[in-house]
Symmetry: C2
Subunit: 139 residues, 2 copies
């Protein structure tokens, strides 16, 4: 997999994948940036949730359950000294569905967390403690 | 650090940081997506390069060197079996500057790689082999 990252201005960086799709990064003013986009560590955290979400959506849909809404909330704790790695991340998976049972969601998240999700596995192998919970909402 | 990720349509997901800045994710058609944005693992790879780039830019600027352009090229290799973690990543840091020496860039990348970059350290701790090279271009 190839990608490039190019400086646009000050600390604003633009990533481009092989298909030309762009992703934006910046840092806050107190780190010399302009806060025009999420920071690299914020984006990393979201990419882990996105990787897991794709698994969960795919598994729930394979069970022919309807998804009317889906979201993941993340709460990450970082080391106080450099390098400020994530030491703990908590994910809350929230599925709005008229017909999926809580067990469907739990099983989907377990499969993603324990078998499929590459990003989650990298974070886990790094030594970060990962916890999660799930919630079903009826539309 | 808190963030949320919300399903927009099909497999398209939108991450939002605490300041409301958005980041977009999607997957290719053969994974059930619409290829409208970079994939989670592509974005993860770019977030690592962005994290390191912020360090390098900061260090080069502290040395009062002029940056006329800066880019990072990434080449990531993934495991063939699930979970398809990155097993190897090569970064090429390219700095265009009228006055920075190659040694300035090497020292900046070393400081980022070995001391400051949180994302790089997480990837390294995950067991991924990281290599890099650098290049100075005169404007």
């Amino acid at each position: 997999m190839n990608a490039t990252l190019v400086l646009e201005s000050n600390m604003r960086l633009v990533g481009t994948n092989e298909a030309g799709k762009q992703t934006f990064f910046d840092v806050k003013e107190d780190n010399g940036g302009n806060n025009s986009a999420a920071s690299p560590m914020e984006v990393l955290l979201q990419s882990v949730a996105a990787c897991s979400s794709v698994d969960v959506l795919m598994i729930i849909r394979k069970k022919r359950k309807t998804i009317t809404n889906f979201r993941v909330e993340m709460d990450g704790t970082r080391a106080e000294e450099h390098p400020k790695v994530f030491t703990k991340i908590h994910f809350t998976y929230i599925l709005e569905s008229p017909d999926a049972e809580e067990g469907d969601l739990i099983r989907a998240v377990e499969l993603s967390q324990n078998t499929y999700c590459s990003a989650m596995e990298m974070v886990r192998r790094s030594g970060c403690e990962i916890t999660w919970e799930q919630r079903i909402i009826r539309p």
